[in-house]
């Protein structure tokens, strides 16, 4: 990927479609996992990232049960690359991560109060920053996440946020870079989504 002087849309095009840029996405996801791992003080593995175009009509099938209680953290990607990120955890996994973060035994945190939500927001911020740090290094650009917005609600209601912003000027598809995370043998019900700015993806 050539350095400097690339527009946000051209950078996305490269990231989403070029086989040569695969290692950037992989390195980004590895950094996200490494940051999560360092925060919760245990090994976290990450699966290979993939790029997909999710049809709007299949969005709910894609996320599973749209009514299930979910923790979603929404962040904007700002700077020379523009987009958004949505990180989804099952409610149980969010509580589990907060326990690990605070050095408590799993099951100690029962509800996501303001302090726990802020901890979840910090986890997401560090994961996305890890991903963006890698992309910024490879491309020689400056890219930052916005402060996180933490939502605890039905999964469908949470993904409405990115559906509404991604579909707006575009096709009926959500373009998503996704990866899954694993804590030793426990597969975290986590979706780490990175989405291009709709104005750039068209």
């Amino acid at each position: 990927m050539p350095k400097r002087e690339m527009s946000s849309s051209l950078m996305w095009l490269h990231l989403l479609t070029r086989p040569q840029t695969r290692n950037i996405l992989e390195e980004g996801m590895n950094r996200a996992a490494a940051n999560l791992s360092k925060m919760v003080n245990r090994p976290i593995k990450v699966g290979e990232p993939w790029v997909e175009a999710i049809p709007l009509s299949q969005l709910y099938d894609h996320i599973g049960d749209p009514e299930v209680a979910t923790v979603g953290i929404y962040l904007l990607i700002e700077g020379e690359l523009r987009g958004q990120s949505l990180i989804l955890f099952s409610e149980g996994d969010a509580l589990y991560l907060v326990d690990l973060l605070n050095g408590k035994r799993p099951g100690a945190t029962k509800t996501l109060d303001a302090l726990a939500r802020s901890a979840v927001g910090e986890i997401a911020d560090n994961m996305l920053a890890g991903f963006l740090n890698a992309v910024a290094e490879f491309t020689g650009s400056s890219i930052q996440p916005s402060p996180p917005a933490v939502m605890v609600d039905m999964a469908g209601a949470i993904v409405d946020v990115v559906a509404a912003t991604s579909i707006v000027a575009n096709s009926d598809h959500l373009i998503v870079i996704e990866s899954g995370f694993k804590d030793e043998d426990k597969i975290l019900q986590c979706r780490f989504w990175v989405l291009p700015d709709p104005a750039d993806a068209g």
Partner: protein, 118 residues
């Protein structure tokens, strides 16, 4: 007892840093964004500042510039998840004394503080 101001929009991070620092005998004041940081700095007159970058209202780099404008001797350490070279360079050029990348190692934060406090 040295006075430290912790600036971070995440309540979790302020609580964690305050615990770490008070445990080491520091006196701590908190601010949750850059705007508040500038106000608290003038009242509390801290010996050093731990400053996040990504924050609503006013970010850490803007707050750094404002604080250095008020007090050219201000000792500000950036503490952020942004590990990008351009960001580090920008912060150091704006007068930050050190730059610690999150997720942080508590020892690294303590060392940075001890260094700037002499």
């Amino acid at each position: 007892m040295p006075k430290i101001m912790v600036v971070d929009d995440a309540q979790f991070m302020r609580v964690r840093l305050k615990k770490l620092l008070t445990g080491q005998g520091y006196e701590v004041a908190e601010a949750e964004d850059g705007e508040e940081a500038v106000k608290v700095y003038q009242q509390f007159k801290p010996d050093a500042v731990l400053m996040d970058i990504t924050m609503p209202q006013k970010d850490g780099l803007e707050a750094l510039a404002d604080i250095r404008g008020l007090d050219p001797g201000a000792k500000v350490i950036m503490l952020t998840a942004l590990g990008q070279e351009s960001m580090v360079v920008q912060a150091i050029q704006s007068g930050a004394r050190d730059y610690v990348v999150k997720p942080f190692d508590p020892n690294r934060v303590m060392m940075a503080l001890e260094k700037v406090l002499g």
